[in-house]
Structures are given as C-alpha cells and as structure tokens.
Symmetry: C2
Subunit: 369 residues, 2 copies
C-alpha cells in the first residue's frame, strides 16, 4: 500500500518538451489555489449561501472574463476538450448524421463522434512534409456530404499546423454549417477569437494550455446555440441537461481562475513564442534534423524528422530508447521514449537559455552516439 501513498513524478527537474505539458504548468497563484482547494468539493466554501454559479467571482469569470477572452457570447466550463466536443455533437447533431473534420484531428474527435453515433468524413492533409490542411478542400466535401458540423483542429496536436480558420469560417457560413474549433493548443497560448474566425464553437483546455490542473476545459459558443446546447431540465429548471448540472466540483476550476490573469498576459507574448520556435527549428535543422509541418512555423508545437537518430538507434545497445536516455542524461525530457526518427515537442514557455541546452544536447548526442 505504501507505493500508492508515495506516488510521484519522474524527471520533474528536467527541461520538459512534452507538448501536452508545456502550457499546463501552474502559475504561482494557481499553486496556492491548488492547495487552498485541494479537498474535494472545497470550492463550495468560496461563498456560503450562494449557488456556486451565483458567486460574484465565479459569475464574473464565466459570464464576463471568459467570453471576452474567447470572443464568444457564452462560455461553459467543461470536463475537457473531448467532453466539450461530445457535448456539442450530442446536443446539436442526430445519430447517423455526418460531420466533416480535418485529417489532422485528435483521436478523441473520432471517439467522440463514435460515442455520439455520427459518421465522420475527413479532409485529408497534404501529407509529408507539411501535412497542411487546405480549408478550401472542405467546400466540395460540404457539398457532397451535407455535414451537420465542420470541425477544425487549430492547430493540430501532431504538427502544430495552423490552417486558415477564418477562411473556413466564411465557407461554413456560406453553407450554413455549424463550425467547431478545437482550440486545445490555441486558447491560453495565443490570441484567438471565435467570432473573428467565424466559428460557432471553440473549446480550450485548462490542463493543456491554460496553466491549470485538470480535467477542465472551456467551451465558447455563439448565443444562437443557447437553446440547444444549454437546454434546461423541466423538473430542475436551473440545470443544464447536457452538462449534468453544475460542473464546478473540483480543484481544477480554482487553478483555472487563479492562472487566468497570467494567461491573459501571456497570450500577448505570442509573437515572441513563435519567433523562438522558428529559431529553435532552424537550429535543429542546422544539425540535420528536418522540421515537418508548416514552414516557417507559426506555433510552439513542432514535429521533427531525424534520420540520423534513427540510424544510431539501429546499432545502439539501448536501441530505439537510446535517444530518450541520452537526452535525460543531458537534462532534457518530454520526447516520447522509443521515438527516434519522428517526434514532436513544444518550446512554449521554455527560455532561450534552456533551449540552448536542448540544442547542445541534440548536438552532443549526434556527435558521440
């Protein structure tokens, strides 16, 4: 039983390039909020006697701060991006209908559609090396399949590609198809506005990109979906059926709120994050690696092809795990163990000094392995 009590992370002192983790580090205020609201249901202590959604701080956060932040009319807290996607699919689409998604979509988009009983048609990417989604390709498929929803992963979680979401907004409007943006890697990292992109829905991830503990996400919507997505129970007229009543049960909401001011500021630095990513990409390419996905890259999440590491792995006593171990020895983690030829990483929030250490690590490994 002791091992359960002593559950602990590994490698927490290392530079961590794992794309699902770089945007989820708690801010100082969120670290405080985490401990303050660690006990189950302690969020209910925030203002005794008020329904949780009526607490002024919560109300202002959900009804004012978040809608403004997302460029949305209405925002709801959800349990994560995948759950938010399912909430929408389950509310506005009938089983058997078809949706149109980008070929770079996250696997949970497919699973959510299957859970909702939907057919899925994919808009293929351009394939290696850029894996670009040309949003104009949606148009013919809209005409052909008459989908009940178009979904765009913006950016995708593999290549960090940012398709032309605004143009897809115009196409969706032209054909009157509801348009959902999976913003797991935009919301909280870069400026993004649902309205400006012409979308009906946008979903962000607390744990992936809003410096929050999880599981939590935020779902922004156009007010025209209020009656559908926020349909109320007749028996409990305060309760939204699709969200099973209040979702504010945990620690994550406190960290999301406490990190929010920092998140609001950090998206203003996005250009610097992009410059840093482009610089890092160039440095790795100087070493012979090849950055896949769009170039010049416009996001901190990047995918690399590294034939040289693959060659080494074929002869190395630790085989395909050599790279993970060699990086770890040099203070770097976050690239999936076992990968050598293709891997993704993120430089979000990592200083240039630390990234120089990463570059030196790659260089040394290439030279000495």
């Amino acid at each position: 039983m002791e091992k359960f009590e002593n559950i602990e992370r590994k490698n927490k002192e290392l530079i961590n390039l794992n794309p699902i983790q770089t945007g989820g580090k708690l801010t100082k205020p969120a670290q405080k909020a985490l401990v303050e609201f660690g006990n189950g249901y302690s969020i209910y202590d925030i203002s005794p006697g008020l329904e949780i959604m009526e607490v002024p701080l919560i109300k202002e956060f959900i009804q004012e701060a978040l809608p403004k932040f997302l460029g949305a009319d209405i925002v709801r807290i959800v349990l994560g991006v995948r759950e938010g996607i399912f909430n929408i699919m389950h509310s506005i689409i009938k089983p058997g209908e078809t949706i149109l998604v980008d070929g770079n979509r996250h696997y949970t988009t497919i699973i959510a559609a299957q859970r909702a009983g939907l057919k899925v048609v994919e808009v293929p990417s351009s394939g290696e090396p850029e894996y670009k989604i040309n949003v104009e390709d949606y148009e013919d498929l809209i005409k052909k399949h008459k989908p009940a929803l178009v979904l765009l992963t913006y950016p995708d979680g593999n290549y960090g590609n940012l398709p032309d979401a605004k143009k897809l907004g115009r196409i969706a409007k032209k054909y009157k198809v509801p348009y959902l943006i999976n913003g797991a890697y935009t919301v909280g990292r870069m400026p993004v506005s649902m309205k400006e992109l012409g979308a009906d829905f946008i979903i962000g991830s607390g744990q992936k990109s809003m410096a929050s503990s999880g599981p939590i996400g935020i779902l922004g919507m156009d007010k025209k979906w209020e009656k559908t997505l926020l349909r109320k129970s007749k028996i409990y007229p305060q309760q939204e059926i699709e969200f099973l009543g209040s979702e504010l049960r945990g620690t994550a909401i406190a960290t999301l709120i406490a990190s929010f001011p920092t998140v609001l500021e950090r998206v203003k630095n996005w250009e610097k994050e992009v410059e840093k990513a482009q610089w890092f990409s160039k440095e790795l390419e100087k070493l012979g690696l090849e950055q896949m996905g769009e170039k010049p890259h416009k996001h901190d999440l990047m995918f690399f092809k590294a034939d040289a590491f693959y060659e080494i792995s074929l002869k190395h006593p630790r085989g395909r795990f050599f790279l993970y171990n060699a990086l770890k020895k040099r203070g770097v983690t976050g690239i999936k163990p076992g990968l050598t030829k293709y891997f993704k990483l993120s430089v979000f929030g990592i200083s240039k000094l630390e990234l120089k250490q990463v570059i030196i690590a790659f260089k040394e490994i290439l030279e000495t392995a």
Copy 2:
C-alpha cells in the same frame, strides 16, 4: 484581475458539517500527491514510455485494488458519479426506454436520464418522518413498466437512508433487470460490495467520499457488461468509446491513489462512525430537534427538523440566516445558510470532541437567540 489570483476558501478553520465535504478531505499522502501532480497532465510523468494505463502502479490500482475494494469484476475511473451514471445509461439503454429509480435519488440521476433520453419512474419513499425506500415497492413497478435499469441511491444524499440494497439485488435478478447502485456516500466511507448486494454496477465519488480532489469517481461493473460499456473503437482498438479514451488527465487521480490506503483502513471503522452518528442524533434530539430519516440511523449523513430554530428566525433581525451566523460565531459551519427548520449535516470523520462543541453551539443558540 487580482481577485482571480487570490481566490480563497472561507471558514476553513471551522468544524465543517457539510455532507459533500466531510468525506473529501485529503489525507496527508494525498496533500503531497496534489502538489506533486498539480500541473496539468503531469500524471504522464509517472512512468515515461508507458501508456498511462500500463504503468504498473496505475494498473494494479485500477485492475486489482479497486475491483477488490468494490467487489466488482472491472473498474473504470470516471469523471464523477453523475457522469458514470450517464455512461451506463448511454451505453446499455436505448432512448425512450424507462428506468426505475428511488424517490430519494439525487437530482443528477434525473438530469442524466434526460440527457440519455430516458423515461423515469420513481419508487416513492414513505414520506415524513422516515422517508424510507421500501425496495419491495420496486417489484410491482418492474412488472408494470419493464424498466431497462433499476437504480438505488445508497444512501440518499438528503436523509442518509440505507435501503435494503441486497433485497433489491434479488428482485433485480428475478426480473433480469440491470441494477445500478449510486454509492456516492458509501464507497470510501463504509464497507460495500457490489457482488454481495447483487448489483451490476456501483459508482463511488472521489471528492465526496474517497478523500480525493475532484472531479473523479470510480465505476465498478459485472464483467457481463464489458462488451457493452467498454465497447472499443474499431479505428482505435485500445480506446473505449464511452469513456472517450483515457480519463486519467488530472490531479484528482493522484490524490485518489494516494488516499486509497487510508480509505481502505477507514471503512473498517464504520461501526464507530455509525455509533457516533446515533449518539449525536440523540444529543440533538435532547435539545428538541427531530432527526428525520431512518432511526436508529445507520449513516453519518443526517437530516434534522428544528422547529425551535424556525421560530427564532421569524423574529430574529438576521431572519433565516441567523442560524448560519450563530453557528459560525461558535466555530461551526456546513449547514446551508438560510436553512433553519430543515437541514442536513454529516459527522463523518469529525471527532467526538468537535461534535461536543457543535452540540454546545446548538444548545447556546437555542438558549440565547
């Protein structure tokens, strides 16, 4: 923006009788795990290179420790009891079908059924003062409505009544109706075995009764439901459709694991918790309050009727909020502000010494208000 960063609890130094909070206080190991895994997705650091469900510690917890603890064949981590109830309803019942639930069910049981498009028939309680659910009453309604599921809230969250769950198991078996136990206030507080009660499913709450941060729950099931509830995606054969892939994204799972050894021990003390509840109930009745719900009571969650407080509230300058404030002055919180005549509370995990302070507080308020 500062107010978001400084989000904080109130009354955290007081004795807290709130039934949704007494079982959710983190243990010391869980407090450590909370901080260790506070960052979003940091659970993925636990064992780099393994799928999260393949990490030996996680595997042992979910595949061995929890099934044994629940008396279930298979256990899945869910996002909460309401989500677990919906998972079952959405997987094993067709929209339009009828389910049979106890009249003391939580409001989210109704909302989940509405979300799944089900009809709900309720088995009424005996009403004031005991609000007893006589499980034999399920039988006629099963014959009449041929429900696709029977659900029992065990105990309910208002009166803390423990109906004869085992007898309902025999009835469900006789009519071959799937049987779901909402164990939000049993699992983690008292010994309970799904198999012994003859149920197909049982769901427990991390934040309500397993000393965990939330949102998290555990869903135990009979293996005969594996193919239905755990149906896999053909495209992603590892992924369970109903659970949208892995649910292990947050901080809560780490606290659930770290608290588990303590939880396993504490359920052995259940008789003492019941004795304490009965003693507390008698002491309040000596003051003129009336305990509603089953008597002698078999659970820490209790409902009281207090005409005397109601009478005071009619004349008190603070009106119906006087009781909340008067208790707070005396170091006690957790009874809903504004309530005087009827209120619920829980004595779980609260020492007799602290409860004496609560009793004295009630006494003083009655004498001086």
